[in-house]
């Protein structure tokens, strides 16, 4: 890398079903908070990278064109990433690349979704009847995972409860379900067997932003940096004979490339916590396996043992995760942001004590797009 990338500012909006603000106001709120955190202004920004999921969600084509004024991008490069559900993660990675290339010193990246402007189920179905939603597509794969691993059905309920309890500690989270319990999850309507209503993510408005800079910028920055140790992306063809969408090869390849780059040899031990993209409960154990943190068939046992709770040996989705807030286009970036939040030691009530190395992951499409990064409180941590 020509330069190292440090995350020096984080900004989020409150996530909610409908935020009564404009899209300009939405992205500005996150961006201004990130700039304030970095103690910088728009004038300090060299380039802007915008990410969001399909333009059909808001009915706005290439929104960089109508949001460039709001983000003070006039006269600057403004780039737009779109890699399906993984887009927020991909956007963060593209922004980091702008820094690592040595071509830009300070970059603002913003991801958002204003789901309340439209309707995700409608958009995903292409406006046709019979749309089953993402849950309808993923449920058969989840069922397949349960068969393969022999996981009991309460694993999904446990993830649902853990993430919602975590969300109670995060003021930005959309869902604050004070009465969440295994019983409540079990009793909630079955939407896509085996997925209950409370095992699914909400539909949220919201935006997330990060300010990134190089080593010189990090040195000047008043608050701790989260150093990007490594990032990786992998894509595989979405449909072809013989594809395994349950534990996709792309998910494993992505993790291998990531760990190699970061110098990680034993992810479960050497990574302190992770923000994984879990829109439906079962993806927590599935990703733990697909990303080589748990042995094949053992991911659900990590959930069952409480290892993925805050206080466990491998906390996952401390912020409440996608299950508690899902502004789709931003959801991947929120994972990256929350990983940075942990290693900067600024995660407040959901801080993992002593977190030094954190993993973030996002996926998209028919489990065919993966974007991951690892951040650390130190630019060059050593792993034993």
């Amino acid at each position: 890398m020509a330069e190292r990338c440090a995350v020096i500012g984080l900004g989020q909006t409150k996530y909610d079903r409908c935020l009564p603000i404009s899209m300009d106001g939405l992205v500005r709120q996150a961006a201004l908070r990130a700039l304030e955190d970095a103690e910088l202004t728009f004038a300090d920004i060299d380039a802007i990278v915008l990410g969001k999921a399909p333009d059909q969600l808001e009915g706005v084509i290439m929104p960089e064109l109508s949001l460039c004024d709001a983000l003070c991008a006039v006269g600057k490069p403004m780039h737009r990433v779109h890699t399906a559900g993984s887009v927020g993660g991909s956007t963060a990675i593209t922004a980091a690349t702008l820094i690592e290339s040595g071509m830009y010193n300070t970059v603002l990246t913003v991801s958002y979704e204003k789901q309340s402007d439209g309707n995700f189920m409608w958009a995903l179905s292409g406006g046709r009847s019979g749309g089953q939603g993402a849950g309808g597509s993923f449920a058969p794969w989840i069922r397949n995972y349960m068969k393969r691993s022999g996981a009991p059905e309460h694993i999904g309920w446990q993830v649902a409860v853990k993430d919602r309890l975590n969300a109670l500690k995060n003021p930005y989270a959309h869902l604050h379900l004070k009465d969440i319990s295994i019983e409540a999850v079990k009793e909630s309507p079955m939407l896509w067997d085996p997925l209950h209503f409370l095992e699914s993510c909400p539909s949220s408005d919201g935006a997330a932003a990060m300010v990134m800079t190089n080593a010189a910028g990090a040195k000047r920055s008043p608050r701790p940096s989260a150093w990007v140790l490594a990032h990786a992306k992998r894509t595989e063809a979405g449909v072809f004979p013989g594809r395994d969408p349950v534990i996709p090869v792309a998910a494993m390849d992505c993790a291998k490339a990531l760990y190699k780059k970061a110098g990680i040899t034993d992810p479960r031990r050497q990574i302190d916590c992770a923000e994984l993209y879990v829109p439906f409960t079962w993806f927590e154990p599935m990703w733990l396996e697909a990303h080589l943190i748990a042995e094949p068939g053992e991911g659900w046992k990590m959930v069952d043992s409480g290892a993925t709770e805050i206080g466990g040996d491998f906390p996952v989705d401390m912020s409440g995760g996608v299950l508690s807030s899902n502004p789709i286009g931003a959801s991947g970036m929120i994972r990256c942001l929350e990983a940075a939040n942990q290693v900067r030691g600024t995660a407040g009530d959901y801080q993992v004590e002593g977190a030094r190395v954190a993993l973030a992951q996002a996926y998209g499409g028919p489990s065919s797009y993966f974007a991951m990064w690892i951040v650390s409180s130190e630019p060059n941590p050593t792993f034993k």
Partner: protein
């Protein structure tokens, strides 16, 4: 080979929350007033939430501008689109309203291009029916303006609705047309890759792994009998255009002799407690006159067998044991 035209309309009434600046602007339009916002020594119209030069958030200091102003630039639209605010020839113009320092782009209704000129004066005309949208107003040459008595509406405009409706037309790609014709004939037509030997259904017209384009010579008829490899029960979520209301089984079925499962096959007549992975099923086609392939399109993400399968009937064969169900789907 018959051609299969495809046409669909992507339509949704987007509901936008305009926020603290565009909200009052739209409320103003509904109430027959045009608002600008103070930005230093300037007045911006249309108003913005921030100073476009510095990015500084502006306080909501609104100023009424217009209703008349000067045309800074214009173009005469000889053939309006269905999306334009006026359905007869009109001008789009940049109008700097009296009291504003920036121009708004809007429609001017005039007798013809001869009636338009840069520097001319125009006046806002409000529509009879106003809904809190930018299209509540248009402009006319100042001399053509009518006096209007506008009754203000109630409350603030908190939502502005934009019905976006786009129609797309084409025809089925050749391999999809043969697939659709097969369904009408009561057959599942897939394609076998000459490179991998794998059979895909519906084919996408190429082998995505070997990256070779397939031809009609690669078409193969696939058995209507197969194995359930996974399923879920769908409780339909209601959205615009959704017609499903009752829960149903959605199964993934591997047809014998194919290498790619048919996802999302509706099962309506097998009780849930009898349905299981490994079950052998056979497609029972509707009578020819009742077969319909309107739902088949070029969009592979939602593969469909159209409306030709009346039901998937259990064959009564023994289940395929779990360990012989393909790990991959």
């Amino acid at each position: 080979m018959s051609e299969f035209p495809v046409s669909f309309t992507l339509e949704y009434p987007y509901t936008r929350t305009p926020g603290p600046v565009i909200g009052p602007f739209l409320t103003g339009l509904r109430d027959g007033r045009i608002l600008g916002i103070r930005c230093g020594s300037r007045v911006l119209c249309p108003p913005m939430e921030f100073d476009p030069d510095t990015g500084e958030t502006l306080s909501p200091d609104f100023v009424e501008v217009g209703p008349s102003g000067r045309v800074e630039n214009w173009t005469w639209i000889a053939e309006p689109t269905r999306k334009h605010p006026l359905q007869e020839p009109f001008a789009f113009a940049l109008v700097k309203l009296d009291g504003a320092d920036t121009a708004i782009t809007h429609a001017v209704k005039a007798a013809g291009p001869e009636a338009m000129s840069t520097g001319m004066r125009v006046t806002a005309q409000f529509r009879e029916e106003r809904v809190g949208a930018v299209s509540d107003v248009y402009f006319v040459p100042e001399g053509d303006a009518r006096e209007q008595a506008i009754e203000p509406g109630e409350g603030e405009v908190e939502i502005t609705t934009h019905l976006i409706s786009l129609t797309y037309e084409g025809k089925l790609h050749p391999h999809n047309a043969r697939y659709a014709q097969g369904l009408l004939d009561g057959k599942f037509i897939g394609q076998r890759s000459p490179v991998s030997g794998k059979v895909g259904i519906p084919s996408r017209g190429y082998d995505p792994i070997a990256r070779v384009v397939l031809t009609p010579a690669d078409d193969v008829e696939i058995s209507p009998t197969g194995t359930v490899v996974s399923y879920t029960v769908i409780t339909p979520i209601q959205y615009r255009g959704q017609t499903e209301t009752e829960p149903y089984i959605s199964a993934t079925i591997f047809l014998d002799g194919s290498d790619q499962a048919l996802p999302q096959q509706d099962i309506r007549d097998i009780p849930l407690d009898e349905f299981r992975v490994g079950m052998r099923v056979r497609a029972i086609f509707r009578p020819p006159a009742e077969r319909n392939v309107d739902a088949v399109d070029n969009d592979w993400m939602y593969p469909t067998v159209g409306d030709v399968v009346e039901r998937w009937a259990p064959t009564g064969e023994p289940d395929v044991p779990m360990d012989q169900i393909p790990e991959t789907m």
